[in-house]
């Protein structure tokens, strides 16, 4: 296995002493695809959760699926997202993390 490779093992050891800040940076380092509406995602979705939720749930939701997800966040979870921003967020999610047509 890879772990028996001494270089790999040394890297593992080096990573073990990564400071707390590195993993906090972990969330900040999540890379979302560029696209129209991405800033609305960052403004609204990140109030309650990290955006790895989006990447993790891809690419298998179609427009209906992403609409239902955003609607749940607003109606059930209480996210105060204006209608116009919700539309932009859905468009972004469909374009960047939607099921291939």
């Amino acid at each position: 296995m890879d772990i028996r490779n001494p270089i790999r093992a040394a890297l593992c050891a080096a990573l073990l002493i990564a400071p707390f800040a590195a993993a906090q940076a972990g969330e900040a380092d999540i890379v979302l695809k560029d696209g129209s509406g991405k800033d609305r995602v960052q403004v609204h979705c990140m109030v309650c959760h990290s955006t790895d939720y989006i990447v993790m749930n891809s690419p298998f939701l179609d427009r209906k699926g992403w609409e239902a997800t955003v609607a749940k966040m607003i109606k059930v979870m209480g996210a105060p997202i204006p209608d116009e921003d919700a539309r932009l967020i859905v468009d972004y999610l469909v374009a960047s993390y939607g099921k291939a047509p």
């Binding site: 593992c12 050891a13 990564a18 972990g26 790895d52 993790m56 699926g65 209480g78 993390y97």
Partner: protein
């Protein structure tokens, strides 16, 4: 480094860092396949990494906030899952770190005849201490394997663990407070909350009969140590046999009620179609459309070999793992070494109780070089067995398809 040496090394390193007060966030590189099976969504695998929460070993990070971390399969080679490797699952991201000395548990409500406010010391001093082994498994464990995929945390196999839980019986605490004759359900709240005032708080209820079951506990220890911060410190509910959604962490309030609790996390989540072969019913929460999840279905996982592993022809190969169910008790695990055409009974390991992981093992010496597909299928004392195809359901619960690992004989 052997796997065991590596685990010990990681454990020691984690402890050393904590003692030194250094940053406890740890990461390590993943081995091929360690982040989960290929059947997970591509985005899930792309965003997964091995990372450690404070006090934990590197686990498979699904999401940072709220924290959702999965236990790598290698930790299921032993019947008890180490606390530092135990999975972490939260719905809501405001998770206070609680001072155990200041913590209080409030008991009372409309269907209680009295009320209590208990400290941790009160719990330990005033009630009989009990310990039992039980599997704690997220209802959505293996959700990521459903085809087609359904939204939610895309778990692989590791949103579960088996531990010895030590605490007091919930029924003893309820009896001390006094339960009214019309108590229908008991509602439980924990200290974790949503970041917005409008986010539904994570409250769950149990039917009174399950709350009064002598095996339902308020636990403050796990595997002989205080509960880890990320597993419900200082005290959590332990509902053996039932999905972990009911195992409320950081328990703060217990409220007997006379009518069905209608919060979102009961009425709007954790509900399944009625086609699963579960035993326990939660009738006060039943609707025309669906029913709340209750006991776990019978399941198993091969843990002695990894997908894609090369194994030597002519050498004995242990095909071993863990089996569990909702409390009926696993009494048989069959193993196939020919892709499911024929099955042989595996040997069962020590019985740690009907709610615990039951180890199984089957020794096989492959002769022919080439592909080898091994499977395991558990059955229990009440006649349930694992399925060959998942039963589809919108939230992706109860995935108990037979465990399957593809190997290469060289």
């Amino acid at each position: 480094m052997s796997d065991k040496t590596r685990r010990d090394f990681l454990r020691l390193s984690a402890g050393g860092l904590l003692l030194a007060g250094a940053g406890p966030w740890l990461a390590r590189l993943a081995r091929a396949g360690e982040l989960g099976p290929d059947a997970l969504p591509a985005g899930t695998l792309a965003e997964s990494r091995l990372e450690a929460l404070p006090g934990k070993l590197p686990l498979i990070k699904k999401t940072y906030r709220p924290p959702n971390y999965e236990t790598p399969i290698e930790y299921f080679r032993e019947a008890f899952t180490p606390n530092e490797a135990f999975f972490v699952r939260y719905h809501l991201s405001d998770i206070p770190e609680i001072d155990p000395a200041a913590w209080r548990l409030e008991v009372g409500g409309e269907a209680a005849t009295g009320k209590l406010s208990l400290s941790l010391a009160d719990l330990k001093r005033d009630f009989e201490l009990v310990e039992l082994a039980a599997v704690c498994m997220c209802a959505g464990n293996r959700r990521g394997l459903f085809d087609p995929h359904v939204p939610g945390v895309q778990w692989g196999h590791g949103a579960m663990g088996n531990a010895r839980w030590r605490g007091v019986r919930l029924r003893d605490v309820l009896a001390r407070a006094g339960i009214a004759r019309d108590a229908l359900e008991i509602v439980f709240d924990g200290a974790d909350r949503g970041p917005l005032p409008k986010t539904p708080d994570f409250l769950k209820s149990l039917p009174a009969w399950k709350a009064m079951d002598p095996d339902t506990l308020i636990a403050f220890e796990m595997n002989g140590a205080p509960l880890p911060r990320w597993n419900g410190a200082p005290a959590r509910l332990v509902v053996p046999g039932w999905a972990a959604t009911y195992w409320i962490k950081h328990l703060t309030r217990i409220e007997p009620v006379a009518k069905a609790y209608d919060g979102f996390w009961m009425k709007g989540a954790y509900r399944i179609p009625r086609r699963f072969p579960t035993v326990d019913r939660f009738l006060s929460q039943d609707t025309e459309a669906n029913t709340p999840i209750t006991d776990m279905v019978v399941n198993s996982l091969i843990t002695s070999v990894e997908p894609g592993q090369a194994v030597a022809a002519g050498q004995p190969l242990p095909i071993a793992g863990m089996a569990w169910d909702g409390g009926g008790g696993v009494n048989r695990v069959d193993v196939s070494v020919d892709g499911g055409r024929s099955w042989q009974a595996a040997e069962l390991g020590p019985d740690h109780g009907r709610y615990a992981f039951r180890p199984f093992s089957y020794m096989y010496t492959p002769q022919a070089k080439g592909g080898l597909v091994v499977l395991s299928r558990a059955a229990n004392r009440i006649g349930q067995a694992q399925v060959f195809e998942a039963i589809p359901n919108p939230p992706g619960y109860h995935h108990n398809v037979v465990s399957r690992v593809e190997l290469t004989v060289v």
